[in-house]
């Protein structure tokens, strides 16, 4: 019974560590998907002149958070509302300046001619890439660290209790 309890403590601490690591993984996924999305936009706008809602619908999104943002953005479009911070309502992993950059990207989407829209997408993609590089570094630094720390902390508690 005692060993089982200690095992549970290690598991819980490890899980908390994993949760903290996931934050960095999710951020990485979001910005990777966002870059994929800009690439799809670029192709579909230039070659297919596809409508924005169709592009969003067809986009295979690997990030749950970006999916939520795209859903919120689609609702704003359909309801004729301007794109505001409400699209981030269920997304907790973004910093304020990142929200601002993403919001700027979406608020210009679909409002320009092909040439200027392509330029705007290209500029946004560069900004997303900069953030992605930071996210990659953060993930390298802290991604596994929290998981390891969690397990170590769990073991430490187990050791003290034992």
């Amino acid at each position: 019974m005692k060993y089982l309890l200690l095992g549970v403590i290690v598991f819980i601490c490890g899980y908390i560590g994993y949760g903290l690591s996931k934050f960095y993984i999710s951020r990485l996924k979001l910005f990777t998907s966002l870059i994929n999305f800009t690439e799809k936009l670029d192709t579909d706008i230039n070659f297919g002149k596809s409508k924005l809602l169709k592009i969003i619908e067809d986009f295979k999104c690997n990030s749950k958070d970006l999916k939520k943002i795209l859903e919120g953005y689609t609702v704003c479009l359909n309801e004729g509302r301007p794109c505001t911070e409400t699209v981030f309502k269920e997304v907790k992993i973004l910093k304020d300046d990142e929200k601002h950059i993403i919001l700027n990207f979406f608020s210009e989407l679909g409002k320009l001619d092909v040439y200027n829209q392509t330029k705007q997408i290209e500029n946004s993609k560069m900004k997303f890439k900069e953030i992605l590089n930071l996210c990659t570094e953060e993930k390298k630094k802290y991604g596994n660290l929290y998981l390891k720390l969690g397990i170590i902390l769990g073991l430490l508690i187990a050791l003290i209790l034992f």
Binding site: L53, G80, G110, D113
Partner: protein, 302 residues
Amino acid sequence: MLSDVIGEKLYTIITTKFNFGYLNEIRIRVDKPIVVFVKGQAYYLGNNGLVTSEENAIIATKQMVEDIIFRASEFSVYSINEELKKGFIVLKGGERLGIAGTLVCEKGEIKTLNNFTSINIRIPHEIKNCSLDAFSFLVGEDGVKNTLIISPPGGGKTTFIRDFVNQLSIRNLSFNVLIIDERGEIAGDNGELNVGKFSDIIAFSDKKTGFMQGIRAMNPHIIVTDEIGGEEDIKAIKYAGNCGVKVIATIHAGSLEELKAKEGFEDLKNTFERYVLLSKRNGPGTIEGVYNENFSRLAIWR
């Protein structure tokens, strides 16, 4: 659809505060009062409907104009560049949205239109039987006569030819009718407007291409087209005549004198057998007279 494009507020006003059936046109200009044409008469649009004083009118903003175009393009302005170059978009309900702004040209060629400043929304209406009074003069035992419908802008020419084609269908006069719908106004963007059961539609094509391709591909008895003018259109009509195809066309002119003075009309004079003059006197589509090839009046309605 118009409701998706102009926004809830404007749509509610135009559908609840006066008879939408009489609405012909909405004009939205940046920083100017919104003007609507109801039964051919201009009014300002206020929050409570039609108003005559400018102070009570709704003032359009740049944002309003941009939002309307954004929504009309299905949130994809980049996808409507060809339409912007022509200066208009046709909505799903057949409404035509004319746009003014800054034309971007390069080496004499229009590249796009941006910095939008004005919108003109023309609302098509089906006026049942509006061509009926003239019908018997345009269809004889030998078939439909080459006919030119004449009226000033907004005079009901398109409504007239749409109803005329529908009347042929109602009477089961199974002529193959080919509609060359350059702006999508006769049959709508996707053929939503009623043009009878014997009609084929070539949409958004210039007349020259439409006539050539249509005659080759669809073997029509009659070609119906809107707003002729210019050398290419005259050539297309003559080509149809040489192929034995009858033509029902419309042209902008306020009177027969104005028509006769039009450049290029001399070339077409021997083509048409009937002229129908419309005006806005009792609302768009008022038939002023039907004339034969010698411009002798066959019928008059006063």
